[in-house]
């Protein structure tokens, strides 16, 4: 009994007090900043080393929907710098493409204001309580573990009234991870159809957004994304829980 009390005392209070203001350690590879003046002659080396073809040159841009944040481009070129900024979610696919012109040097608040559009009806409908059904469709267990971690004692997403539900029937939305393997495509569609309308659709991680590293695989079936509109894109490989929670709170207008 004494040990139990000691354990409880040692455990202390682990939750991050203010998720909205939380900063990640400087080593974290998050939102990349592009400084085009450092890009001397459009040599294209950054584009060549990128494993997922996320980089375009002239003008230089990185597509966060494809980026796996491996940091290889940063090592070959001074024009690209990954920062510890983790608030990189977006409601539009196009806004995920980071260029020097639109976002470089701007604070994350400005990126956020542009990238995430808060809709009144979403705020009204889901702003106070949101239950999500997660479907892993070919995910490697990286995104899945980070989404699980959103509910743990450190991040405690439940404090915002946001939880993962066991049944799609109890859910207001779906969170998709993984590139959508051929064998999971029907189950994903079934899960989506089982969620009562109105519902939101979230794609978390590079694989879900663009196919990521598995884009060329012949065993994918990404028809789901041709039929269903994504409401919120959360980049990362995998997305950090703080990225996920903050993007969601921005989206809900909290």
């Amino acid at each position: 009994m004494l040990n139990l009390l000691k354990l409880r005392w040692n455990h202390g209070y682990q939750a991050i007090p203010d998720i909205r203001k939380a900063e990640l350690m400087v080593t974290h590879r998050g939102f990349p900043v592009i400084n085009e003046s450092e890009c001397k002659d459009n040599c294209g080396e950054c584009k060549d080393v990128c494993p997922t073809e996320a980089i375009e040159i002239n003008p230089l841009s990185i597509d966060l929907g494809k980026c796996t944040f491996c940091g290889e481009c940063e090592r070959v070129c001074a024009a690209i710098k990954f920062t510890n900024e983790c608030r990189s979610g977006s409601t539009s696919r196009n806004n995920l493409i980071v260029t020097s012109k639109n976002f470089s040097g701007l604070t994350s608040d400005v990126y956020r204001n542009r990238a995430i559009e808060t809709r009144k009806e979403i705020h009204k409908m889901f702003g106070r309580s949101l239950k999500l059904r997660q479907v892993s469709a070919g995910g490697c267990n990286g995104c899945e573990m980070e989404l699980s971690a959103c509910g743990n004692v450190n991040f405690d997403m439940g404090r915002f009234g946001i939880d993962f539900a066991a049944s799609p029937r109890h859910s207001d939305g779906i969170v998709i991870t993984g590139p959508v393997s051929r064998n999971m495509a029907p189950a994903l569609m079934d899960a989506y159809n089982s969620i009562p309308s109105p519902k939101i659709v979230i794609a978390a991680g590079a694989c879900a957004i663009s196919g990521g590293i598995f884009k060329e695989s012949e065993y994918l079936n990404r028809e789901f994304f041709e039929k269903i509109k994504i409401d919120l894109f959360i980049p990362g490989c995998p997305p950090h829980p703080i990225t996920f929670i903050n993007s969601l709170l921005d989206f809900l207008g909290r």
């Binding site: 354990l7 350690m25 290889e72 479907v135 060329e216 065993y219």
Partner: protein, 495 residues
């Protein structure tokens, strides 16, 4: 000499491997395995003309590996080995699925990753085993599960609460990873990224296995510093995942103290991983010919302090947990897996060790810094959920000691070196003890020095059947607990 003898990470020429007549191959393999060697791999490779079948066996006492092969040109069938060697059962099914060569007399030749209803009409769809009888019922779960986990289908045949049989159907995650390695235009960074995504919870394990195979084929010797850093990262991954599992096991029996405390401790470890390489799962750490990030004196200092504290915290949490009657009541004598079964099925990793079967690549076939720091194999005898939970605790203690020892004496050396081309017509076997168990990658090169075949095996491939076996006779409500005590990878199995 029917077998070519080699070691973990030694390169051998494909021409040296004997191609035995089918009957000799069968006799030799049976003799080898019945003589106490362990089956590591059994896989095919399509050549023109015909299909080669390779078998790899390990002698864990002498750190030796043995390879032999046979060739199928016109034959479309052979006499199954499974009745003689049960541990080959899944390999034979995989070989049949990939190359269409049938093992005649295989006791249960069902699909491995194909045959899911409603996906592809060309694949005959698989009908589950079904039991009949009064008051027998079936419970189907998945592919989508209640929690945030990967997909797979479980079908229970029950009488009342009691499980008579559990059939596990996987393949939902299949992304065709092995074939994706073969595109000759792919860059090293792409292939490395791909190896990190085989199983996202074993990033360092799989990326390290792949990289060491490639480095052997390139004839690159990395510095001892690189080896030490890689070993530290692998042990950090082991500690983090074992803590996550202890947290998950606690959650499954509604022991919330353990669930919170172990969960919070895991966060500290993966944050330490992030402080080294910028990602909580170790992505971006490994590179061909070295590592991308150093362990600086500051990081070493922080890590030492963190691990010292963690050692005390884990000891206290484990003492409270494993002395709680309500925990022991659920853990003890639940989901028992006997040692004989574990050996017969060729199980690996902590699952095998928790049943008293001492296999650990770190000491049997050492790689990286384990060549300089011998690892003592930890085993428990009872083979129940308790053993699989407790062995995680003692392995955490062991990993902390290993990291401390390495950090105290981290050699200097270059973090990377130049890459040369792969040796042509060669083969290398790379074995690693990931946190789940033995990860093995076998790479074969063609005459141009390009990869022509990569065979990947996650420890989950060996161990999924153990879950089926250990829930037999248990109440169905103990299934989540048994499942978590193995915590196997779906994507690592499905590839």
């Amino acid at each position: 000499m029917s077998w070519v003898e080699t070691k973990n990470l030694n390169v051998i020429s494909l021409n040296d491997i004997q191609v035995l007549p089918l009957n000799d191959f069968r006799d030799e393999l049976i003799k080898k395995i019945k003589g106490g060697k362990r089956l590591i791999q059994f896989f095919g490779n399509k050549e023109t003309p015909g299909v080669f079948l390779y078998a790899v066996a390990a002698d864990d006492n002498t750190s030796k590996l043995f390879i032999t092969s046979c060739k199928f040109t016109d034959d479309k069938a052979y006499q199954s080995l499974t009745p003689e060697i049960p541990s080959v059962h899944l390999f034979e099914r995989e070989f049949y699925e990939q190359f269409g060569i049938k093992p005649e007399g295989h006791p249960w030749l069902k699909p491995v990753r194909k045959g899911i209803e409603g996906i592809n009409n060309d694949e005959p769809h698989y009908n589950f085993f079904s039991m009949t009888g009064e008051e027998i019922h079936e419970v189907g779960v998945g592919p989508i599960h209640a929690g945030i986990i990967e997909p797979g289908h479980f079908r229970f045949s029950c009488h009342g609460e009691k499980v008579y049989h559990l059939e596990i159907k996987l393949g939902f995650q299949h992304r065709g990873i092995e074939n994706m390695f073969l595109n000759k235009n792919h860059k090293n960074v792409y292939l490395l990224n791909l190896s990190e995504s085989i199983a996202g919870d074993s990033v360092i394990g799989h990326a390290g296995t792949y990289i060491r195979a490639m480095e052997s084929l390139c004839n690159i010797a990395v510095s001892r510093r690189v080896k030490s850093i890689r070993t530290v990262m692998l042990e950090l991954e082991r500690i983090a995942m074992h803590l996550a599992d202890l947290s998950g096991l606690s959650g499954d029996i509604a022991y919330l103290t353990g669930s919170s405390v172990f969960g919070a401790l895991r966060t500290k470890i993966i944050n330490a991983t992030m402080s080294i390489c910028g990602n909580r799962f170790g992505r971006g750490m490994m590179r061909l010919s070295g590592v991308n990030f150093d362990i600086t004196p500051e990081i070493k200092c922080d890590l030492t302090a963190l691990l010292n504290k963690l050692n005390d915290d884990v000891d206290l949490a484990a003492e409270v947990m494993f002395s709680s009657v309500s925990v022991l009541e659920r853990f003890e004598k639940t989901g028992i897996l006997e040692k004989e079964t574990a050996m017969e099925l060729g199980l690996v990793g902590l699952t095998a060790r928790a049943s008293g079967y001492a296999v650990d690549i770190r000491s049997d076939h050492p790689f990286d810094a384990y060549q300089y720091f011998p690892v003592y194999k930890l085993t428990l005898e009872s083979g129940d959920v308790f053993a699989r939970a407790y062995i995680r605790y003692i392995e955490i203690q062991q990993s902390i000691k290993i990291i401390m020892e390495i950090l105290n004496n981290i050699p200097s050396g270059e973090l990377s070196c130049n890459i040369s081309s792969l040796q042509p017509d060669s083969m290398v076997i790379s074995l690693t003890e990931g946190w789940r168990g033995e990860i093995s990658h076998i790479v074969l090169t063609d005459s141009d020095g390009k990869i022509k075949r990569i065979k990947i095996k996650d420890p989950s491939f060996n161990n999924w059947l153990a879950l089926s076996i250990s829930v037999r006779g248990e109440g169905i409500s103990d299934f989540p607990l048994c499942n978590k005590s193995y915590n196997l990878s779906y994507s690592g199995f499905d590839l």
